[in-house]
Structure formats: C-alpha cells, structure tokens
C-alpha cells in the first residue's frame, strides 16, 4: 500500500476511498465514480480540501463544531489526558476526574433539576439509553405497562414538508429500534408523528 497523507494526489485518495470506505447516507457506487471531496484541514469556519479550495462550512460539520475548528486548547487538553489516563471504564464501581468534572459542570448548566448525567458515545446511543431509562423508571414505579414512547422527531411542520420530515423521522426511529429486539418495538402513527410500543 502506498504511503497515504494529505499530500497524496487527490485522485489516488479518491480511488482508495471508493475501494474501501463505505460512506453513511450515501449511494456508494455513484460516489465512487464521482470521487469524494477530501477535506484536509480546517480553521474557524473554514475548511480546506485536497484541491486547495477554501470552503465556508455552513453546517459546522454536522451541526456540531460550535466553537469552530482549530482550537489548540482543546487539542492540548486531549493530549494531556491521553498521557495521564487514556481510558478507563465506569462500570466497576470506578470513576475518573474528567467524568466527575463534566457531569458536575453539565448539572450546573442544565435548567431545572436536570442534575444527573448518563454518558454515551453519541446522541443516537443516548436516545437508546433514554428508552431504557423511562421503561426502567416506570417498572420501578410499579407501572410496567407504561411502555410506549411517543416520538415526535417530526413535532410539527407546515404540511408541504411532511414527506421530508417523515422520512427523517423514520430514519431516527430506525436508529433507536435497531438496538432493541424487533418484537419489543412497533411503530404506529400519531398524525404526522409515530409511536413506539
């Protein structure tokens, strides 16, 4: 295999990408023919690609890069933490300083009495956790029959966008549903929303 770096020719990177990398939410065969855009670095709101374009990122990645790209302080913290304690779990009646500090900070920031945090790797995982949390809660409350969750990822829409909104909602529900045995989930319609039972 050739040495791969941001200095590699774009065509070569695209060819390897098409050969081995399966993209999410993508018709991969069509993308393979066209060639994916190779993003090489970023600063503030600006992305650079391997052809030298400077692109304004109007989506903050996927709605996430709130403080902008290229913050050295964050990189320094990550490097320090990797040297000090790169990994440990919180299953074995164990904890660590970053988890303690972050949970406490979030409790400070969050409104009302939202004072407790269960960590996950992503929002999709956290929503899986939420379904388990609410079912466990109602079981402990002596109401195990409270099992349905009305999910309104499509809470509201002017009618012309129903289709788009529904398609997105179905995708989101599939993400939740795939972590549960199929028999435990069914989806029925509330107007433009759906119900998980």
């Amino acid at each position: 295999m050739p040495q791969i770096s941001t200095q590699s020719p774009t065509a070569e990177l695209q060819q390897l990408d098409a050969a081995h990398h399966m993209h999410p939410f993508t018709t991969n065969a069509a993308l393979g023919k066209k060639g994916a855009r190779v993003i090489t670095r970023a600063e503030g709101v600006w992305l650079n690609d391997s052809d030298g374009h400077r692109i304004l990122d109007g989506m903050a990645g996927l709605w996430c890069v709130n403080v902008g790209y290229g913050r050295k302080e964050i990189a320094d913290v990550a490097a320090r933490q990797m040297l000090e304690l790169p990994y440990y779990n919180t299953f074995f009646q164990t904890t660590h300083v970053p988890a303690i500090a972050l949970a406490a900070r979030i409790a400070e920031l969050a409104p009302g009495d939202l004072n407790h945090v269960f960590f996950a790797g992503s929002g999709s995982e956290a929503n899986d956790t939420n379904i388990r949390l609410v079912r466990h809660y109602w079981t402990l409350k002596g109401k195990p029959e409270r099992r349905s969750s009305s999910a309104a990822r499509t809470p509201i829409t002017d009618r012309r966008w129903d289709q788009a909104a529904l398609a997105e909602w179905r995708r989101s529900i599939r993400r939740v549903a795939c972590r549960f045995p199929i028999s435990s989930i069914s989806i029925s319609r509330i107007g433009i929303s759906r119900v998980v039972t």
Binding site: A60, H96, L114, V117, T129, E145, R153, A164, S193
Partner: protein, 268 residues
C-alpha cells in the same frame, strides 16, 4: 389556519393518541425543540407549551432531544429554554464537545435519577464517560463560557444573519425563510407565495442547489427541496456576508439551471 392554531392542533394529536392507547400505557414523549435534520422545522410558539401541558396532565415523561439545539445553537444554552420546555430528560451530544471527540449523554431530572438509583440499571457503553472525550467536552464548555459564545449568538451573529437570511426571501427561488439562533432554512419554490411543490421528484431541486453551493465553496445542506444552515457559533459578521454572498450566487446559478432544464414547474 394561523400558525398558532396549527401548533395547538398538532400538539393535540399527541393527546388523541394518548387517549387511544390509554394514558397508563404511555411512558414518554420525545422530540427535538426545533427539528434539525428534517429541514430546520420551527414549531409555532404554541406547540411546545401545549405538549408540556398534555404531558403534565397525563403524567408522561417529556424528553427533549437537544443533540442539535444544545450548547448555544439557538441563542440559549439549551433549545428547551428557547422554546419553553421543562423536560425530565435531555439528550445531548454534538455541541457538548464541538465534535472534537465523540461524546453524548442523557441529562436526567432528580425524580427519574433518584428512582433509577434504587435498582441496578443494566446498561452502559464501553465509551460511557470516556476520559479523553470528557476532558475535551469540559474544555469546549470552558471556551463557550469564557468567550461568551452563547451571548455572541444571541446578540451579534443571530441578529446580523437574520437580517440577511430573511432578505433571501426576495430571491425568485426562495419562498419561506426560518432562522432560530444559528439554525436556519430556506424553502425553495417553483412559484413564490403559492406554497407549491416542484413537479420534479422531491429533492431534485435541493440537490442541484446544494451542488451550486459546493461549487461556490459554501457548504449548505439540502433536505429534499429545503436548504439548511447551521454554521459554527463563532461566525463573524464579515463571514456571514461571505456566506450570504455565496448562497445568493448559488441560488442564482441554480435558478438559471432549473430554468434551462425545465425544472421550475410546480406539481399538478
């Protein structure tokens, strides 16, 4: 129907469903304060207060999915504050670490957490509370606070972008414009003021417009025939000018192309 009535009517669909299922069989209601990836769909002001009233009335847990709206996106720390929601649980991710490391979580109220605490909760992930991701998130939250980035969204970036974003409604391809904080959408239209859909398969026009954005070095996503933005919260007025300039050029080019290809027809 006014938007306010529409909001109430849609929220009442939840109540109908609860009554159909039986309130004692419903565990929770989950929704994004403002729907993101579905096309930045902003509910009328009446929607969430009515949902809150219904959940309170039937004792149903309310979950706000703040994955997109959390950590400043709407001009407050959380979208629930912007939309008037008092959730029992909030889902967070994305902006919690500005994407520098993958981390998410459920923020849980005292009642639910204290109840769960009485029993073993057999659930978790290998990377729950990962120390590097947690440290990265903490530093990100420090930056958001120390640099008053949420205030920047509310007092500087949103007002400036709002003026320029809503002016795009004058473009022949644009009908409705929405912007809350720094999440916005443009509804593309074949006929202004008519709320008509395009005759072409949904998404065709949006995809063409997105391609023109890319060609002009601007990333703007399309959801079917709706264009959406959600830039970094630190965006400056000068950068907003560039965003608008490129978006306008992309819309002009898309409009010319649609015209040439006969795609400006509305659905029959």
């Amino acid at each position: 129907m006014t938007p306010e009535d529409f909001g109430i009517a849609r929220a009442r669909q939840l109540e109908d469903k609860i009554l159909e299922l039986g309130a004692d069989r419903v565990a929770a209601f989950i929704g994004e304060p403002i729907q993101g990836a579905g096309g930045v769909i902003v509910p009328p002001s009446t929607y969430w207060p009515e949902i809150q009233r219904i959940c309170d009335k039937y004792g149903i847990l309310l979950i706000a999915d703040e994955v997109i709206t959390g950590f400043g996106r709407t001009g407050n720390w959380f979208g629930s504050q912007t939309m008037g929601i008092r959730p029992h649980i909030m889902t967070v991710a994305k902006g919690i670490s500005s994407g520098y490391a993958p981390i998410g979580g459920s923020i849980v109220c005292d009642e639910v957490a204290n109840t769960i605490a009485g029993d073993e909760f057999n659930h978790g992930y290998t990377y729950s509370g990962h120390p590097v991701c947690a440290a990265v998130a903490l530093e990100n939250l420090r930056i958001l606070e120390d640099e008053a980035i949420v205030d920047h969204v509310r007092d500087v970036a949103h007002p400036y972008l709002a003026e320029r974003w809503h002016a795009l409604a004058d473009h022949p391809l644009v009908d409705d414009t929405k912007l809350v904080g720094l999440m916005g959408s443009l509804a593309l239209t074949p006929e202004k003021g008519s709320r008509a859909k395009f005759a072409a398969e949904p998404g065709t026009v949006g995809y063409i417009t997105r391609e023109r954005c890319f060609a002009n070095n601007l990333i703007m996503r399309h959801v079917y025939d709706r264009m959406i933005i959600s830039p970094p919260l630190v965006i400056t007025p000068t950068e907003i000018d560039i965003l608008i300039e490129r978006a306008t050029k992309a819309l002009d080019e898309a409009y010319a192309q649609l015209k040439a290809e006969g795609l400006l027809k509305k659905a029959g």
